[in-house]
Amino acid sequence: MRSIIAIALATFKGGIRDRLLQGLVFAGFLLIASAGVFSSFSMRQPLEVAINYCLSATHILAIIMTLFLGLNLLSQEIESKENHFILTQPIPRSYYILGKFGGLFLIIFAMVIILGFFSALGVSSVCLGMKNYNIAWLNFCASLLGILFSCSILGAVIVLFTSVATSGIFPFLISFAVYTAGENTETVKNYITSGMAGEHISHLSRLLIDIIYYVLPNFSLFDFKVYAIYNLPLSGKLLSVSAGYGIAYTCLCLFFAIILFEKRDLP
């Protein structure tokens, strides 16, 4: 356990050394400054637009950061053989994978907290001139939690593909493809089941879509933005099921990543 924590902390420090925090603070200031401008064009709902903008920007930034950081931290290390120093120590390879993911998760967590804080400031700045407003801060936090789960699953997917890949570009492309597909499987499935797609979609395609729907992570499950934007009641059941699914899927990816990494021949 100590080894895992040590690797996680080293990974976290490595990520921080990349001037990540400075970049995030800069992005945060941009968020605050631009939230007011962006929402000012709204005719009836500037506050809703500000929440929408801040949460969406946080989501987009967090996903992009996870993709690039995950690859930088793992893929490059494997490619440049920097990890040999750790792997030659008497610690199991599974600890290395878990430690690396732990570090990546810590970075993602810090990132979501920082961006979430700046988002909240951005939204509050829009409220300054308003008399009557009501922000669903709990839903806002639930939305940030959803972003954290999305990034956590994406991080685990990156670890999974990095553990088998020999080059850096493969895990990037495949992880991005998984993210894109995972974000849209719900939409595609709904489109097909609603009958809007017509009869020209073959049974084989429908079966394939069904398989993809159940195999790939469903990122739309973690999208609670609409609840935060319009102050809609958010079911605790949905939140707990999403959290359970997020944790289970992350663990499953790490499990396969460990198996594959243990079987891998490292030069």
Partner: protein, 315 residues
């Protein structure tokens, strides 16, 4: 070497600065045609939003709003209403809670009679989601009353709006008037006043105020006709007759540039048909097909085809 570099740098700064100063003038003078492009299907938009459908809806709305502002506000051209509706419909498919889209759709399309059925469908979609919002039943009610001439449906929606916003006396009055099918001009004035009080858009506010002035002028003349009928037992032949008999003290101007007249039934009409956007002199020919269609329709004397507002479907 250093002096050469500084000189080159200064030259580049001066050149770029002068171009930056100069290009807006050329751009304004050339005025490339402004179009709102048709969007891909909602399914594709949803895929490309990468899980940020609400943001995508917001961006589509802003794009439509800016297009409308420039087209109708600055260029005085006729916007492509069908594409505006299409964009707003797709944006509300992505985010059915987006009030900006419904509000804008009502402001831009409610004056066009053929657009009312689709506009009402859009607003009903919003009503299904925004169950707490009194604006949506208020707009639907107004469309049913003024455009579709269906006071019963209108009153039902107004009642729903009044229930949601029970503090508003205007809504209660409007509901009562619609139930009893009272004076349409006065109802229209009341409706426009409530819109002016609530809107924050300068473009819409200007449009509403102009229409309000026109309706107030019509009401003034209608009252003159009523007085004339009471006194002489017949309808005046023309407006000037009311002036000479002292029923009115002046002939108000039509803010849309037309001329008021009395039809055979004693109703006050105007040659402008309260449809400013379709006036011949204001139509600037550009590459937009809508503008050309509008111009052709105008020449055929069919304001409804152009989306124009006739006296019969005011306000």
């Amino acid at each position: 070497m250093n002096i050469k570099r500084i000189g080159l740098g200064l030259l580049l700064i001066i050149f770029t600065g002068s171009m930056t100063f100069y290009y807006p003038k050329i751009q304004r003078a050339c005025k490339p045609p402004l179009h709102l492009h048709r969007l891909p299907p909602e399914f594709a938009l949803s895929v490309f939003s990468f899980g940020n459908k609400e943001l995508m809806a917001c961006v589509i709305f802003y794009n439509t709003e800016f297009y409308f502002g420039e087209k109708a506000g600055s260029r005085k051209e006729i916007p492509e209403y069908k594409i505006i509706y299409d964009a707003l419909n797709k944006a509300t498919d992505l985010d059915p809670y987006n009030m900006d889209c419904y509000y804008f759709a009502q402001g831009a399309l409610s004056w066009i009679k053929p657009a009312i059925p689709v506009l009402n469908r859009l607003l009903i979609k919003g009503l299904k989601h925004r169950t707490w919002d009194w604006y949506l039943p208020f707009f639907i009610g107004a469309n049913y009353y003024f455009q579709l001439k269906d006071p019963l449906h209108a009153a039902q929606y107004m009642k729903q709006a009044a229930k949601l916003n029970y503090k508003s006396p205007i809504l209660a009055t409007l509901t009562a008037r619609m139930f009893y099918q009272g004076n349409q001009t006065q109802t229209g004035i009341l409706y426009l006043k409530s819109l002016i009080a609530e809107t924050s858009s300068p473009v819409f506010k200007k449009q509403f105020k102009k229409r309000l002035h026109a309706l107030e002028a019509i009401l003034f003349l209608e009252q003159g006709v009523k007085r004339y009928k009471t006194r002489f037992g017949k309808t005046p032949k023309n407006i000037r007759e009311m002036l000479t008999t002292g029923m009115i003290d002046n002939i108000p101007a039509d803010p849309y540039g037309g001329r008021f007249y009395i039809d055979n039934d004693g109703k006050i009409l105007t040659t402008s048909k309260l449809a400013e956007a379709w006036k011949k002199k204001d139509i600037k020919r550009n590459d937009g097909h809508s503008d050309i269609n509008a111009k052709e329709s105008l020449q055929k004397g069919n304001p409804e085809k152009t989306g124009g507002i006739t006296q019969r479907n005011r306000p």
